[in-house]
Amino acid sequence: MTNFTDLTIKQALDGMAKGEFTSAELTAAHIDAVANARVLNAFIVETPELAMEQAKASDTRRKSGTIGLLEGIPIAMKDLYCTKGVQTTASSKILEGFIPTYESTVSQNMLDQGMVMLGKVSCDEFAMGSANITSGYGNVISPWRAKDDTKPRIPGGSSGGSSAAVAARIALGATASDTGGSIRQPASVTGLVGIKPTYGRCSRYGIVAFASSLDQAGPIARSVEDCAIMLQAMAGWDPKDSTSVNMPVPDFTKALGQSIKGMKVGIPKEYRMEGMSPEIDTMWEQGKKWLRDAGAEIVDISLPHSQYGLAAYYIIAPAEASSNLARYDGMRFGLRVDGKDLTDTYESSRAAGFGAEVQRRILIGTYVLSAGYYDAYYTKAQRVRALIARDFEEAYKHVDVILTPTTPGSAFAIGEKQDDPVKMYLEDIFTVSVNLAGLPGISVPAMLDSHGLPLGLQLIGKPFDEETLFKVGSVLEKAANFTAKPDMGWMNA
């Protein structure tokens, strides 16, 4: 009896190709699994009827020989993607009840490849956060628990619903998005693979915008191969997104299992921080050894402006967000709270609809763009950004790929790091520079820490060189042999 929810996407595709089972069976098993895992609060909207319709249509298509890259595969869709006819909220109350009349390009691409959609999964509100504790629809809880306590743990953020669903085996894969680390950090803390492709590789059309020069769509799945399959289905030039780049999408799966002999792997010295956890250091050393054993050369490099990445990010991202979120004014869509006049209506609607973190970031962004401060903050941050991008360009003259930890630690307990916003921001310390430079980055599960919680290693690539990330990532994956699954007994207690 096939344990449908324990398969990889590749295994599911193979099983259906061989006629061992249908998408209808596979999807029904996942619909049940989703219903039994509501304690995680991963889904904002479950779409079981739609999913079964799509599954049956997929089985019919398969009979006539049409087999897409994701044919019949049940996927969880981050609620940042506009899905036609299905509520899309960006995990905000300001969009409660908003039903898009159009489909995002990335989800349309996936539908064209035969995807089955289980529902819309939660995230941090407007993708702002690293723990999925700012969703307007409640915290998402990780299926993972530490072995030595019973505290509910974060699934990471902003794509916490995506990571929780895939880790809990209630979806075979999930779409996610990454502005400062929101694919890679959740993947790292839930023992999954997540890739943020190069800026411009996937279309942002129909994805609720947070920071337009940083946002990128990408998958979270249980293997490097699954991510390669998903990314191929998701990616591609889109004339409706003028920042998407007109480059052919290679068959990413061909990069898997190739030799990395002679490849140069860069280790940035600035990423070794004072007071860094010894376990993170051990994992990093282990990663270096795995790659050396596979024939790669480890090269020390310097990314001199690394320490300024987070600060630059926390000017640029809120600035762009303050501009992008100006559209939520209660006039044409979204929440309207009537006020005594137009301005009062704007102010009341936005105050009622946006959560605290979103409001905080809008205020930061508005301030740094305001008259008298624009040059000191925003322009300065843009120039620091140019230096960070240049650091990577220089490094890539000497190495092919860069290896770092993904996160400074494993999943912390829900409630921690909330006394000081900066503490939470530091979760993204290893991931933000990748977004600032527009580069691709992947997180691959490496090991469990002393609490039994997952930790991931990050590979950063050259622009549009996702193939190298899949190539080297599959080497790390094989060497790490990470087979741990969350012990979900607590969910039925």
Binding site: A312, R332, F333, G334, R336, L342, A351, L363, K380, V422
Partner: protein
Amino acid sequence: MDKQTVQKVAKLARLKINDDRAEALAKDLSGIFKWIAQLDEVDVTGIEPMTSVSGQQAYRRPDVVNDGNKRDDILANAPEEAEGFFVVPKVVE
């Protein structure tokens, strides 16, 4: 950052914030901006601001109508609509 500055910025952002929250936010934001001030250390002489990520020119398409006639779609999520128009608070006296 003080309470008055927070209220000024809130006005620009069209966000209603009461006095107590403005007080708390002033503290939060002061802390964040103190942390951000580390960028003052960076010498950016001769560095242009990075305004494009991929460095490519914006894609241009032929200047022809290729969309439209979707009034009902556009109004579908309106908080208030009437006779094919968005109904909004009075703007002009």
